[in-house]
Amino acid sequence: MISAYLIHILILICIYLILALSLQISVGYSGMLNLGHIAFYGVGAYTSTLLALAGTPFLLCLLAAGLVSAVVGFLLSLPTDKIKGDYLALITVGFSYIVYSLMLNLDGVTRGPLGIPGIPRPEIFGFKFDSNTSFLILSVVVTTLTYLAIKRIVDSPFGKLLEAVRDDEFGAKILGKNTFKAKSFSLIIASLFAGFAGSLYAHYITFIDPSSFSLMQIIPIISIVIVGGLTSLPGTVVATFVLVLIPEALRFVGLPSSILGPMRQIISSVILLVILIYKPKGFWGRVELE
């Protein structure tokens, strides 16, 4: 049914949007090419799942998912303080692999490749978000709050400090700024919201396994951030719709399912390449990716 399909797509757009908006903080505003963002998403999903299966109410699961991811984000900020650019990208790729390997091999906690089924749908103050329509409303609320919170952060003096660190970290130090603290906070905030996205995903799909959090999943998210434009939150919103909907259109072409998945990643990558070559600031960005 088309409407059920559309609702499903809109929920996915919400989850992608939270991931992309939060990645904007570290990549766009702080200039840290963080390719390990999916790891925080995974940490959030597993945290929320394990707590929910232990009987914890959804709101606490959501909160804990964000907080645990934020702690992991802080831990990642410790060894990466003095690392920039391509090197930081490589380290965050390594970090993503480590988290992925843990999900795959900590059988006692994550059930490894078998994944965890039976994740309950959210229930808040007695209202159970059983239907996809109600889940979409919940997703829109969480996404809107995420957008407003991130907008508030990036428009604040702290957000300007992040941009200063991105433009010239040494210049910021010369003005007396503690750039480690700023970058660390940036990763903490980005991972906090990625954790929320992970929690939403787990409670929507009701099943998680490590394949949902592999490194390859970063491609559509980083594509959204770059296509929308670094430091552009409205651009991120538009790019999320475009980059989620364009590959979905392939469904109607009648391609076999074995080709459909790879084709989506190819399309995301081609769009990313074209944008990087012809419009390096993305559509609405102020800053070029270095």
Partner: protein
């Protein structure tokens, strides 16, 4: 009682490979005056600046600022102790507006995450905005307030950086070639700004190659050659110093 010298450099040493960029340099910077550090190219002036501001680590010697040893502290700690600096090359945050470039230098309130995000310092911000607008208007940069710093011309960047260093809380203002490459009109404007700074009793340490400019604005001049101080005194004393003339003629 406050020491009459805000900054004391004792037997400072820094080598790069086999090159002794700073070789036992000792300088005293008097409080409330404009001190110029001059010397031929490669004499070690900028290296001394870098050592004072913590950009590079010294191999030996001491730097005392406001009676506190600051040698080899990190740049942000030194900045927060009260040393503000303008570099030879522009270090403006190119994607931030001119206004934000100046606002960020005011204090470290932006580092207080919750206060910053919740807007709990908005009253103070209003006062800061007023000061920044007045400063920019005074150098005819008011119309560039909301423009990204990358859109400024070379001269406008020098001015904006000078204003930013002045806004950054400090007891000592260090300027590395503030008029290099600027137009004569802008040079006069910067001289006017420095006169204003002197009028307020601030301390400035200046590197400048333009001798006419330097000898007109400085109260005290220190001359370096080959990493050492070869002379110091008033501009009139320096003009006639035979060692100085020899160093510049070599």
């Amino acid at each position: 009682m406050t020491d009459k010298h805000i900054l004391k450099i004792e037997n400072l040493k820094k080598s790069f490979g086999g090159v002794h960029a700073v070789d036992g340099c000792s300088v005293e910077v008097p409080r409330g005056k404009i001190t110029a550090l001059i010397g031929p190219n490669g004499s070690g002036k900028t290296t001394v600046f870098n050592l004072i501001s913590g950009t590079i680590k010294a191999d030996g010697g001491k730097i005392i600022f406001n009676d506190k040893k600051i040698s080899n502290l990190s740049p942000e700690v030194i900045s927060n102790l009260g040393i503000s600096r303008v570099f030879q090359q522009s270090r403006l945050f190119v994607n931030l507006s001119v206004f934000d470039n100046l606002l960020i230098a005011f204090d470290n309130e932006d580092q207080k995450f919750w206060k910053s995000v919740l807007g709990l310092n908005s009253t103070v911000r209003h006062d800061k905005e007023k000061v920044i607008k007045e400063m920019l208007e005074s150098v005819r940069l008011g119309h560039m307030l909301d423009k990204p710093a990358k859109d400024l011309s070379f001269g406008q960047k020098r001015l904006a950086e000078l204003l930013r260093a002045m806004i950054n809380p400090h007891d000592l203002l260090m300027l590395d070639e503030p008029i290099a490459g600027v137009t004569p009109e802008l040079r006069d404007k910067i001289r006017g700004i420095l006169s204003g700074v002197r009028g307020k009793g601030e301390t400035v340490l200046l590197i400048e190659h333009d001798m006419n400019f330097t000898l007109r604005v400085a109260d005290y001049v220190v001359v370096m050659d080959a990493g050492k101080v070869i002379a110091s005194g008033s501009p009139d004393e320096i003009k006639t110093n035979s060692k100085v003339l020899e160093a510049y003629l070599d």
